[in-house]
């Protein structure tokens, strides 16, 4: 097996949940400092891709690499160490409900580093300021709105200065201004901190703002991959229908024939 040259590499990954085949020979490469956006229908397996990269799900077949590490073959201890180089923002934030904002953001630092309480407080303040949540650090997640929770989740994902950010619908449910703030933050992270990101989203505006490369997932495979401008002009009927939001087209027919015809 050849050594991967990319930041993230998925090779012929198959993933099946009982009878439902979600990924079928899925392959994808992500380059350093790239901001890849994966689009696709609900339930098409976009979030599954992020979980596979994190190693919280194991594929039925295929290999997944993060830098030189093969995620699929790593022992638990090594996998935990590799995960510290990734930051994940979940669709529903997944904040620990019994801990306040500060404690949520501080958790990875407290558990995985030898930093003092003062150092941790300083980093937590810095990250919360970055997402505009510094004044809410004593609140519990149940006291926050959906958008606020997502911003805290982003701050938590950033505290360990990850090389790779995995974002599951980062701007879903946010007002346009906050969504733009989050998008700008993701862009600035890759520009200044050289962070690579993989974003899964339905939000077109956000997707085209963030992405340096777009990919369309359909029926378990990437059917189109291009830079944002080229992607918008794609002749692929599935991509065209998805971007226009039309009800006419191959997506509802659920057949690959229409794609291969072109």
């Amino acid at each position: 097996m050849t050594t991967p040259k990319h930041m993230v590499e998925l090779r012929d990954v198959c993933m099946q949940f009982e009878e439902n085949k979600v990924l079928d020979g899925f392959s994808l490469n992500v380059e350093p400092q790239e901001r890849l956006v994966i689009m696709g229908q609900s339930g098409s397996g976009k979030s599954t891709i992020l979980r596979l990269i994190l190693g919280t799900l194991r594929p039925n077949a295929g290999s997944i690499f993060f830098k030189r590490f093969e995620i699929t073959g790593l022992q638990r201890r090594k996998l935990q160490a590799v995960r510290q180089h990734m930051g994940m923002v979940y669709q529903y934030s997944a904040l620990l409900s019994s801990r306040n904002v500060r404690e949520n953001v501080a958790l990875p630092l407290e558990e995985l580093t030898d930093k003092s309480r003062d150092e941790i407080d300083k980093i937590v303040d810095e990250k919360l300021e970055l997402v505009g949540m510094k004044d809410s650090k004593d609140l519990l997640p149940e006291e926050l709105s959906g958008g606020m929770r997502k911003r805290v989740a982003l701050a938590r994902a950033l505290v360990l200065e990850p090389e790779l950010m995995l974002l599951d619908e980062p701007s879903a449910g946010l007002d346009p201004v906050i969504a733009s703030v989050i998008d700008e933050l993701i862009i600035s992270l890759s520009d200044t901190a050289k962070v690579t990101s993989i974003t899964v989203t339905h939000e077109m505006d956000s997707a085209f703002r963030i992405g340096t490369r777009m990919a369309m997932l359909y029926q378990g495979k990437i059917i189109e991959e291009a830079e944002p401008e080229k992607f918008k002009q794609s002749k692929n009927p599935v991509v065209a229908q998805f971007l226009s939001g039309s009800t006419e087209g191959p997506i509802l027919e659920g057949s690959l024939d229409a794609i291969t015809k072109k």
Binding site: R76, R77, Y90, Y92
Partner: protein, 274 residues
Amino acid sequence: MADAQPPPVLVAQGIGHISRNFLREVGGVFWFIVNTFEEMFERIQQGRVPFRATSFFRHSQRAGVDSVPLVGLVSFFLGLTMTLLTGYQLQRFGTERLIPGLVAIGFTRELGPLLTGIMVAARIGAAFTAELGTMQVSEEVEAIESMGIGPLRFLVAPRMLALILLMPCLSTASNIAAILASSLICKAYFSIAFPYFLDLVKDSLLIRDIITGIFKSFLFGLLIAAIACYRGLTVKGGAAGVGISTTSSVVTAITAVIGFDTLYNVIYTTFYPT
């Protein structure tokens, strides 16, 4: 119906299905315990504490200290009842002085750990399952895992260790409450004064009985915590799933406690019959 299978085949299939599920669950809990300790020791090898002391003390407070009133009260009433019922029977033969020993041995070796186990399984096992189950369905457990933090050592280990260490203490509280209740009844109904009661207890109670009771308590603590946390972390199906798992956790833990108690007694009395 032409393709209907004969009843014996269906019965055999049913037994096979139940046995397979049972063995799968037993294996699941066993490896869950092994993996929890493995994660803890890996962390210790890295020169770090496996979990924070505050987390351990919080669970100890909840599982142990807060359970003392319930365990004490139930054991006290059971001690009263046991003394009264056995006392009247023994009085007919003029052997009331056997009551203190009977209650002391009965509770120290058997009823104390067993009753405590059942009460803790219902009170704390249910709480552990519901808590971890809710975290599981709201992706909190996965979020912890995705940060590179071992969820077993972070969430399960402090709960498991708290219950293992607190169960013998709770059993002791249960024994003391029952013996105290027995002494009151002995004084009131059978004219056994407290100093004489204590002498009779000391004469009849062997170190072996106390060690047996304490050993059982450690075992029950491990079982209850493991089953409750395992059920919590394997919840599927949202809020309804949490409810189903919590019920299942309590039923399984109580059954396991009684089953292991019986097994322990059978093995113990086989090797040490006196």
